[in-house]
């Protein structure tokens, strides 16, 4: 058996890469496939927090790569999602602790026993990026509708193509339909025009993400979370299902809710 390795990247920091990786991994695992989440952000470990697994780390990625520990021993099973495992990053080391070749071998090994390997890439375009993408079959580029994030995404897309990770998918994170509506935010079509890549999903700006991160429970487990539902749709699309994207884009301000309640449709 050989699974698919997907790297989640963005160039710019703070656009929601780690949250996206956690929720995509959890979303995939909840619908059946086995998933290994790999925190490739060595020295800045965070994926464990988003998943609520920070107290269960014994071994990390660097221990595995340096040969001190078997990968199966380092993997942490998620408490609630049976098919989900995490390989945490080392916290006391830095990006130079591993090489692209080692990461490639590690990813290949994980693909033997998991349907999906989701790699959370560090921000930036240096060695950490090169490590994370080394063994990836596909890439997901996360951006927000902000100029600096789009510019960095453009750069990353160019670098991915140069490194032979072709046809990256795009996730537009933290979109605010109300701002898009009053032309104070670029819309998804604007971003696709610039970046010219395939759209994988659109995630609304949603405070439930902060709440679920506080609790260490991925938003996909919360049925009421709009961002969580968007990530479930994204997971479904990765599995090859045809899920329409428009549904998540409706404004959710008080006016829209009131209008919906009254049964009025807005033009």
């Amino acid at each position: 058996m050989s699974g698919t390795a997907i790297v989640v990247t963005s160039g710019k920091g703070g656009v929601g890469k780690t949250t996206a990786a956690a929720n995509i991994g959890a979303g995939l695992a909840m619908s059946g496939p086995t998933v290994a989440l790999v925190d490739a952000d060595i020295g800045l470990r965070n994926l464990d927090l988003v998943l609520g697994l920070e107290n269960r780390i014994v071994y990390d990625l660097v221990n595995v790569v340096e040969g001190g520990c078997d990968v199966q021993k380092a993997l942490i099973r998620h408490k609630h999602i049976e098919n989900l495992s995490l390989l945490p990053a080392a916290q006391s080391r830095d990006k130079t602790a591993v090489t692209p070749e080692q990461m490639k071998a590690l990813t290949l090994g994980l693909k033997e026993s998991f349907d999906f390997v989701i790699l959370d890439c560090p921000a930036g375009i240096e060695q950490g990026f090169k490590n994370a993408i080394a063994g990836a079959d596909r890439a997901i580029v996360v951006t927000t509708p902000e100029m600096s994030a789009v510019r960095d995404a453009d750069r990353i897309i160019g670098m991915l193509e140069a490194e032979e990770v072709k046809n990256p998918w795009l996730i537009v994170n933290r979109i605010r339909p109300d701002m898009v509506k009053r032309h104070d935010m670029m819309n998804v079509d604007d971003l696709i025009d610039f970046l010219k890549v395939e759209l994988l999903g659109v995630v609304p700006d949603d405070e439930s993400i902060i709440i679920s991160t506080n609790r260490g429970i991925p938003a996909v487990m919360d049925e009421k979370s709009r961002a969580g539902r968007a990530f479930l749709d994204i997971a479904s699309r990765i599995m090859g299902n045809d899920v329409p994207i428009a549904a998540t884009l409706e404004p959710d301000d008080w006016f829209s809710r009131f209008a919906k309640w009254l049964g009025i449709s807005r033009g």
């Binding site: 510019r151 453009d154 032309h183 670029m186 604007d190």
Partner: protein, 93 residues
């Protein structure tokens, strides 16, 4: 409804911040993309030499090929000194 409100508050007359971001981003991306890796640049150069050498005898040493970026456009600027026009190229129709 929202369009009406927007007009009411005078948003339509000025450039929206979305348009502003798009215009600025367009220029920035043109410039960001106007670089080729040294490897690709060398390849482009050697293929140019190959094609041009079919018709002209050129001075490869003094040849210069660059991407030139001005405000909103990118041009490939090549300066290729010609030593001699090949005889078979002169008479050809």
């Amino acid at each position: 409804m929202m369009d009406f409100l927007a007009r009411l508050f005078g948003r339509v007359e000025t450039e929206t911040s979305r348009e502003c971001a798009k215009n600025r981003l367009r220029l920035v991306l043109v410039q960001d993309r106007a670089t080729l890796s040294p490897r690709v640049m060398e390849q482009l150069k050697s293929e140019l030499i190959e094609v041009i050498s079919k018709y002209l005898d050129i001075d490869e040493e003094d040849m210069r090929v660059e991407l030139d970026t001005s405000d909103s456009s990118v041009a490939l600027v090549a300066s290729i000194p010609v030593k001699e026009v090949k005889r078979e190229s002169v008479g050809a129709v």
